[in-house]
Point group: C2
């Protein structure tokens, strides 16, 4: 009898079956913009957990032109594009496959060019109707820790699957918990011209995504995702009473970096938006994995912050001046 709690997504399971007996020495995470940002916590997991396998995250076109010499038959290349039409990512799949790498394309559109160019396809859900287990982040985690399980015997895989099955409930609770704070954020920051984000470790990609996709792309607000450790070696000179920072505090091993950055920012800044994963109810998430799961929850909460900001500014998240509208 199969315990329903340890059932892996069948598409991911197909990839894991293909990995059995195969030699993989490097994982390349390849995508653009928001789809690239969600690769960062996967790289964090790789670094923390992999015994022998190394990994890199590259923007798709950088990957193609950089043309890493190690890319080849012993590489696993994980790609992602929601529409499956992002030209650079489609091209990266073709490129990697020609080099003999095992390619896996994550997309919301299973008949898209990315799906066609990738050896394996993982269709993910998106939007209001999706549940956490089946989102891009949920499925990527299954593949990353699943690959480490198959290739190196990593023992955290079952715990991850169980935890991911409980993640939707965590999302729902945290959305309620942060509802009024998200609304307040929209009101308080609607007139800002610059908003920085800051994080480290497993959460850095979430800060990056918020800076480049939400603030710069969807709201035309100047931004930069500052790394909490780098903060003290340059960027912190920018903070002042009138400079807003969204600061993420995670539960992973790099949390002390975020705490230090927050302590300093409290002394000299006044416009601080703090999202601390310690405040979350993570019931159902394995203790050992909370550091890895926190960015998924923070990312989900930040989406509410984006919606509220957009509403308060009367600038829809879907509004663009160049993307999909002009030639580029």
């Amino acid at each position: 009898m199969v315990n329903s709690q340890v059932v892996v997504d069948p598409q991911v399971q197909t990839v894991l079956d293909a990995l059995k007996g195969r030699t993989i020495d490097h994982v390349f995470f390849v995508a653009c913009g928001g789809s690239s940002a969600i690769m960062y916590p996967n790289k964090y997991i790789m670094d923390r957990e992999a015994l022998n396998i190394s990994s890199d995250v590259y923007s798709s076109n950088e990957f193609i032109h950089r043309n890493p010499r190690k890319l080849g038959e012993n590489s696993l290349v994980i790609l992602c594009s929601m529409s499956g039409t992002t030209p650079e990512t489609v091209k990266a799949a073709t490129f990697a496959r020609e080099k003999g790498a095992l390619t896996v394309g994550f997309t919301n559109q299973p008949t898209s060019p990315l799906a066609q160019e990738s050896e394996f396809v993982v269709k993910y859900e998106w939007g209001e109707e999706s549940i956490a287990f089946n989102t891009n982040l949920g499925l990527l985690y299954q593949l990353t820790l699943g690959a480490l399980n198959v290739l190196e015997g990593n023992a955290k895989f079952d715990k991850l699957i169980n935890s991911l099955h409980n993640l939707e409930a965590v999302f729902e609770k945290s959305n309620k918990q942060y509802e009024s704070q998200a609304q307040q954020f929209g009101q308080d920051y609607k007139d800002e011209k610059v908003i920085y984000t800051m994080a480290s470790g497993a959460n850095y990609g979430i800060a990056y995504s918020y800076a480049i996709c939400i603030l710069m792309e969807m709201q035309w607000i100047h931004s930069n995702a500052v790394h909490s450790g780098e903060y003290f070696h340059g960027p912190f000179e920018i903070i002042d009473k009138d400079v807003p920072f969204i600061i993420l505090l995670g539960l992973d091993e790099t949390r002390p970096l975020d705490e230090r950055a927050l302590d300093f920012s409290k002394k000299y800044g006044e416009k601080l938006v703090v999202l601390d994963a310690k405040d979350l109810d993570l019931t159902g998430i394995d203790e050992e994995l909370k550091g890895y799961i926190a960015p998924l929850v923070l990312n989900n909460i930040l989406r509410r912050y984006a919606e509220q900001l957009s509403e308060a500014r009367n600038h829809p998240l879907s509004k663009r001046r160049y993307m999909w509208k002009v030639e580029y």
Copy 2:
């Protein structure tokens, strides 16, 4: 008879001798802020040239707390701090050495804590009196390609040494070439509140350094180093007639990314500062290595741009409100 043109820095040669016969499967480039930024082109060289060795660039504190599982006896850890007192970097050296890694500390101060904690020390020159071959970037390149030469037989090492011996002359010529443009930059951009930088490939670290160290740290101007490939997946929505971008065009394989970003920016932006390595006189630099050397030259030119901006704004590059002044 030794050809004086292929003489490697003796401190680097000592490290290379120690690498002979040793197994190294991963290189960690570890530093903070500006010293971290100069590691990026070294990672680019590693990716392009290494047959089997993988590599990562980490901010020192991220490195310690992330604690990569692969870090160990088969790791080469290259650290850098000008004063040799950066606490996170000193601690990272101790941490890596305890793990059995081979550690090399680059510093301007050969009796500093970083020098004491590192197994090997490379003293570099800095400031007006330094020559290109003996700067942090010049010496780091010698170690990176030298290590690939010793460990994997990379054949470009001698060409690199010869090219680096000719680099100071290139610096001098390019400084003269860009003198009036640097001055113009200071005048034109002295009142800007936000200035973006943009690059890719071998040059991204230079754009990063300019954003976080020159603009944010030394001039208190908002900034963000946008990756030319990521630009079209979010950040480009921010550009407009009144949003300044410093765009670097390199000579390495990722140049098409920068060209595309520039073409687009010209259509919708008007405040563009373009530094194109194609305009440089790179006499003495081996054809095969121009893509790797370009960031060193662009970095040197950008220092002049920083000085002129600082002068026009009457805000000295040495001015700080927090760094070295308050507790952090």
